[in-house]
């Protein structure tokens, strides 16, 4: 992985309003050369509006965008030769075959015939699509369409890549393959701006992450730093048959070494710096007439940080997105 401290992308005070709706509200961040930067937020948070402004599909109301050292706020065309884009929808040409689609996209970047054909075959092989090379795009499955769309975005080997929800709506195997390809591009030094609603995907891939909610960036940090507050913490979930309001106080008095939360009725979250001893907890609850249905150890992750910072339940965010886009990651 190549890395230097210069910026592949710099965004300062970017704002975008659609009528009464403030879609993006004064956001600033930078992506270093060779960095994989995650942009994480729920549906409607402003992720796609941000990416559209960065690539030149939307015009910012205020703010500045600098890509690869080129000031391109008012002239997005200036840096488009440096940029590859994988949009959130598979938007290739239904009437062309997979091979023709890739060759056409390569031609848009001025690649000569021999070069674009060689590159198209290389990518078809990389994405496991060579058998479907001569099939029309509208005959592809959803996962195949997504992979070909990804391949089209990197056909010209751009040094800066924008990925908008690259694994949404595709099967587990394809999602895994796409993640491996993203990791490979990152290792070879491509600067990547990734928007996703899959928190585990961001945690696994990204070096630095920004959380965006209601058009505002609420936190930006290295993934390792974001994870620091939950590092070494022990979390246990207990599912119980019923609950009552006084239980929280009773448990806190009996076990002062633990922190208790009741995220839903019938569920108790216990957090501690020391390993949680399950036996006394179960006995305590059963003596008071509660039946313990399940005890589940939980490894704290970026999801916990996301919930803490944004107040949004990650599971709700995922379901919301999948309702809109279908499918899911692994």
């Amino acid at each position: 992985m190549k890395r230097d401290n210069s910026s592949a992308l710099e965004v300062a005070h970017l704002t975008k309003r659609y009528g009464e709706v403030l879609a993006v509200d004064d956001i600033s961040f930078q992506v270093n050369q060779g960095e994989l930067f995650g942009f994480l937020g729920p549906n409607g948070a402003g992720k796609t509006t941000t990416i559209n402004m960065l690539i030149g599909l939307a015009r910012p109301d205020t703010g500045a965008i600098n890509i690869g050292g080129i000031e391109c706020t008012r002239n997005p065309k200036a840096a488009q030769h440096l940029v590859g884009v994988v949009p959130d929808e598979s938007n290739l040409y239904s009437e062309l075959t997979g091979f023709e689609n890739l060759c056409f996209c390569a031609a848009l970047y001025g690649m000569r015939k021999k070069e674009r054909q060689e590159r198209a075959w290389e990518l078809l092989n990389t994405f496991g699509l060579s058998d479907a090379a001569n099939r029309k795009f509208n005959g592809y499955s959803k996962g195949m369409k997504r992979k070909l769309t990804f391949a089209a975005g990197i056909i010209h080997q751009p040094p800066i890549l924008f990925l908008d929800e690259p694994t949404t709506g595709i099967d587990v195997a394809s999602a895994r393959q796409v993640r491996q390809i993203i990791a490979g591009l990152h290792r070879r030094g491509t600067s990547i701006f990734l928007t996703t609603h899959y928190i585990e995907e961001a945690e696994r891939l990204c070096e630095r992450i920004a959380f965006i909610v209601n058009g505002r960036i609420v936190q930006t940090d290295l993934t390792v730093n974001l994870l620091q507050p939950v590092k070494g913490r022990n979390v246990l979930f207990l599912s119980i048959s019923n609950s009552r309001a006084s239980l929280a106080g009773e448990m806190a008095s009996a076990f002062p070494q633990y922190q208790f939360q009741f995220p839903t009725p019938g569920q108790v979250r216990i957090e501690s710096e020391e390993p949680v001893n399950v036996g006394p907890l179960i006995r305590f609850l059963e003596e008071r007439g509660f039946q313990v249905i399940e005890a589940r150890r939980h490894l704290p992750s970026l999801e916990d940080i996301f919930i803490r910072v944004t107040g949004i339940e990650a599971e709700l965010m995922r379901k919301d997105k999948e309702k809109a886009g279908g499918g899911g990651g692994d």
Partner: protein, 245 residues
Amino acid sequence: MKRWIAFSNIFTKDMRAYYLKPPNVSWGIIFPLAWTGMFFIRSGLGLESVLELLPGVVTISILFGTTSLLSVTLTFERRSRSFERLILAPISLELLMMAKTSGAILFGIVNAFIPIVIAAFLADMSGIVWSLVVPAIILIGIVSTFLGLFISVSASEVFEAQTFSNFFRFPMIFLCGLFFPILSLPIFIRWLSYILPVTYGVDILHGAVNGEHTMSYTLDFAILGAFCVVLFLLSLHNIKHKWIN
């Protein structure tokens, strides 16, 4: 060189994906034939009127050929978001739109020669001034295409684009001197004829085919050229403000 590769591939892709599709080829042939037949039957005239009708039929073939297909292809690509790929390519919007419209211009020009070829079998065409007809056909093709582009940019659905197109096209048949002289129109609507670009193209064709034109060729060509530039620039302005917002 890189820009030429992009331009030629957009043009070739559009020709293959849209204009050379069998339904569109047959539309390109049947439509001018139908118009020619319709006007012959309606006029009740003999073969001597072929050259009289030719400028109108040629123009109508170009106008409908270019505007119909361009509005469909652009609106369709915008709906499927594949047009975004073109906007994201490192080529200027001007070059991109020239590439996108060049297929429609060529389609319109080819359409124009179908009634001409038919007429060649039915009438003596030795008096036609081809040095005027050919550039006039090319300019009518360009201005009709850019009119189609201007309309398409305002539409978000294919049916909207078709409706807007008809709003312009059908009045043009009657107002632009295709089959009825402008001077025979009521004076209070005659001004409409002069704000429609096709009027000037038809005037050149009437002059080149029948020797009957009402304005100087220089003025006709200059106004047609000006319409091409204005419609193209207006379309680009609208794309920048409506599609990239």
